[in-house]
Symmetry: C2
């Protein structure tokens, strides 16, 4: 009994966070354990605050507070009600909002189709997406998913679902990222940039 057995659960909980492996979770757990009045208490209180205040918007799935549900992005009449941007998760909404390049509505799927991880269409917010499309009369649905294989096949799946609907289905442009050079681009990115070339 050296206290380590009480850290196994903490290590496991930390290892669930994005980008945290088993070894780093262990280091974090030890650090929290030997600084119980500083780092551990602060993290506990911050988690309680988040648990008490942060909610997911019942409509778009984005982050909001208990008092604003549906969230302000969903209820703001100044935003374009004809365009729906479909993303994987709530942090994608934050990333797109930061660019200021989109002023429509959002819908977070809370996942992608990933047979490798046992996740299929029923694990995502697809039913509510179809309901919103029927009720909110969008003219365009932008599939702002990732460019990995799983995200691309999720986009194809949704495109197929929406085929018969009277709306445009689009995807984000794929090509060279800002500030990069031809010689440093990977072959897939480069061939997509060539394929998607536009008038100069």
């Amino acid at each position: 009994m050296n206290g380590l057995e009480h850290l196994d659960r903490l290590t496991a909980a930390l290892a669930r966070l994005p980008g945290v492996g088993r070894r780093s979770a262990e280091r974090m757990a030890y650090r929290l354990a030997w600084d119980p009045d500083g780092a551990l208490r602060e993290l506990l209180e911050a988690l309680r605050e988040a648990q008490a205040n942060v909610r997911l918007c019942g409509r778009c799935g984005g982050l909001t507070v208990a008092a604003d549900n549906p969230c302000r992005l969903c209820t703001n009449p100044a935003r374009d009600q004809g365009v729906l941007c479909v993303v994987t998760d709530p942090s994608d909404i934050i990333a797109i909002e930061r660019t200021g390049s989109f002023k429509g509505r959002y819908h977070a799927l809370m996942g992608i189709i990933s047979p490798m991880h046992g996740e299929g269409p029923k694990d995502m917010r697809l039913g509510s997406l179809m309901r919103r499309i029927a009720e909110e009369k969008f003219e365009e649905v932008i599939l702002a998913l990732g460019t990995d294989v799983e995200s691309e096949s999720t986009a194809s799946y949704i495109t197929e679902l929406l085929k018969s609907k009277p709306l445009r289905v689009t995807r984000l442009a794929s090509g060279m990222p800002a500030g990069s050079g031809i010689a440093y681009s990977d072959p897939v990115t480069l061939s997509r940039a060539v394929k998607g070339r536009r008038a100069s």
Copy 2:
């Protein structure tokens, strides 16, 4: 008000963990926020368990449980009472114990001398180290600190403090890590390996 302001504190608390930068802390906070019934609750409960059960040993500073203080490493009569291994923090004790190559006592300093971070000798458990050395009559003190500049100057500082005491002060061997090749070693490691060469 989109709930993000309630995640600032959580982001800051996560960014205090070892190896976690601002950007990864933000990603973790978002993930926790949109999985409040899974990841967030589990982390909260694991932190509560650690807070309730894990303690730091009042003697060596290592991890222990409330019922064992001083810890079992300090009170085990089968361990060598003549050798004290001084480390930076409690996780170093776990790492050395895993090797099975040391059977003496430990003392965790809980820090190193780091003028850059405003940390001096008074921020470490040096007073209790000197008391233990006076009371516990060690024959050898092993300074098992890191090999970066700050750890080395901390080791030199402690060596100077212990100069007049009737004991041997040693440091860990510095040289080639296991499984590495000459061509891949950095110049500092390699020159230390040459300087510290031993009979074959």
